[in-house]
């Protein structure tokens, strides 16, 4: 379980002489329970990317705590394998000099898990790719294929929580659908939970059980997906309306 309490964070100006910043998140508090799929919806500039980084523990919040099973998430030991991530830019998510095989083996080697060819083939198979992809380089893959490799790599350590930071936003329309379906499948086969950060309400509504709407660093709504039609706040209603089918 991931517990976020009173998290606030600011961006500091680059200069080392002045301290002055822009507050990006204000008193964020919520929980993610094992196995659930939580969507975090916000426009650009809402602070959702910053929140993503804080949830992953690669940055420490200025105020408040993010704990996973009671331990702070910034400690590498807490995260090891339990939390993983897939990012928006599939082109820069895999090191350009590494083949798919090497990229998949990295997290396995790091956590001293089985990294046999059998296991790698199994991983690729789960995301719908053939073993032939093992020898390919990232620039030889299409967007959808590259993102699948990133998903395979993220689930390699058998995490409990997979954070998807705008993971489908850079993909073409029909490929987005393919990946969404894949994510749904994996959720049941691997007993995974997701934190799905996105600006696309339709995708979040499709995939998630619960949905959180952020505006300028504050939580505006936090409801079960089924309750979305009944939200009260004007911002949320506007957001739900401005959807192109």
């Amino acid at each position: 379980m991931l517990k976020v309490e009173g998290v606030s964070h600011s961006y500091y100006k680059q200069s080392w002489l002045t301290r002055g910043g822009q507050q990006v998140l204000h008193e964020i508090t919520f929980e993610w329970r094992r196995g659930e799929c939580l969507g975090i919806i916000g426009e650009s500039g809402s602070g959702k990317s910053t929140l993503g980084r804080l949830l992953l523990g690669i940055e420490k919040p200025d105020a408040g705590t993010v704990r996973y099973d009671g331990q702070p998430v910034t400690r590498r030991q807490t995260r090891r394998g339990a939390i993983s991530a897939v990012f928006q830019d599939y082109r820069s998510s895999i090191h350009p000099f590494y083949t798919v095989q090497e990229a998949l083996m990295e997290p396995l080697r790091l956590l001293e898990l089985e990294a046999s060819p059998r296991r790698l083939t199994e991983l690729l198979d789960q995301v719908g790719l053939t073993p032939a992809y093992l020898a390919k380089y990232p620039h030889e893959l299409s967007g959808g294929e590259a993102q699948r490799v990133c998903i395979a790599r993220a689930v390699a350590t058998q995490p409990q929580c997979l954070l998807l930071d705008e993971a489908i936003s850079s993909l073409d329309g029909s490929v987005q659908m393919q990946v969404l379906r894949l994510l749904q499948e994996l959720r049941s086969t691997l007993d995974l939970g997701y934190i799905f950060i996105t600006h696309d309400i339709q995708a979040a509504a499709y995939l998630c059980d619960r949905v959180m709407i952020i505006q300028q660093g504050r939580i505006v709504e936090l409801v079960e997906t089924a309750m979305l039609p009944h939200v009260r706040s004007p911002y949320a209603r506007e957001l739900l309306r401005k959807v192109m089918g």
Binding site: R79, G81, S84, R91, S93, F97, E140
Partner: protein
């Protein structure tokens, strides 16, 4: 290794590489190769021309020019290499720490670099040598002191370009340590930039050492060094031009070879072509690259 293969396809590169490699090997094996001891004085052979036992003749003290040339490789080429590696190594460490960890550490280190870089190179080297006294070790120390800041800056830029990449983020999330990330992910990408800069600096360092020795600030007599050989030949420049030409040509040839090698290295390490190196048919690569660009623009 593919890099070597690529490099070997380039004819000037092969030539340059051979010249530099052979020179270094000769320098290392100087005692085995040089026909005569370099410092052995034969006053009766002063200014003798080329002969069968003294292929390049003798200098103003009757010493064998060829042997001095060979022994001169050691300070002029090999010791400079050591200084280069020390300087680049120190600079790279600073650059890595600065570029990866950022924040306060980065700010302080970069201010330090700015201070070092604001001093004009040659002048500072002269000043340091003036303070510490002439001599090879002092000059090399001065070099390391002056050049590390530049390597640090270059490395830092290369590191910063990579440190924000998503694959680094993923490694952090999975729990990789800073050191692991730096060595496995960032170093391979930053190394080409550093290699190119280092190889081009090598040429200028050789020239500087020879220049300083020519001025009398470098290695002290009676040791052999190319710049110093030119200095000693100054007084007989017009009567015995070969005494100045021989070490001078040696410097020119070697530095040109180093510079050519540096250019070829840069071409071979071009990131766009790095992808090409690792794929199959060359013709298909360009098409794929273009399509890759097209894809980015569409998505």
């Amino acid at each position: 290794m593919r890099l070597l293969q690529r490099l070997l396809q380039d004819k000037p590169a092969v030539l340059s590489l051979s010249i530099v490699a052979v020179t270094m090997l000769i320098g290392l094996a100087a005692p085995l190769i040089a026909p005569h001891p370099p410092n052995l004085v034969h006053m009766e052979l002063r200014f003798a021309g080329a002969s069968w036992s003294y292929w390049l003749g003798n200098d103003h003290l009757g010493r064998c020019v060829l042997s001095r040339l060979i022994y001169g490789i050691r300070p002029s080429v090999l010791w400079v290499l050591v200084a280069l590696l020390a300087s680049a190594g120190l600079g790279a460490c600073v650059g890595f720490l600065s570029g990866y960890y950022r924040g306060r550490l980065d700010a302080w280190l970069m201010r330090l670099c700015d201070v070092m870089l604001s001093f004009p190179g040659y002048v500072m080297t002269l000043a340091i040598v003036g303070i510490l006294g002439a001599g090879m070790t002092n000059i090399l120390a001065a070099f390391v002191l002056m050049k590390w800041a530049w390597f640090a800056r270059v490395t830092r830029t290369a590191v910063m370009q990579v440190a924000d990449a998503d694959y680094v983020k993923f490694a952090k999330v999975t729990g990789a340590s800073g050191l692991r990330i730096m060595t496995r992910y960032i170093a391979p990408v930053a190394a080409p930039d550093l290699a190119v800069i280092a190889s081009s600096t090598y040429g200028s360092m050789i020239l500087q050492i020879s220049g300083l020795s020519f001025l009398g600030l470098g290695i002290q007599a009676p040791h052999a060094e190319w710049g110093m050989m030119m200095n000693e030949a100054r007084s007989v420049m017009f009567t015995r031009p070969e005494l100045m030409l021989v070490p001078g040509l040696a410097v020119i040839v070697l530095v040109s070879a180093v510079n050519f090698l540096s250019d070829s290295l840069q071409k071979a390490l071009d990131p766009k072509l790095m992808h090409a190196m690792r794929s199959d048919k060359p013709g298909a690569v360009l098409g794929r690259w273009l399509r890759g660009r097209g894809r980015k623009e569409a998505a």
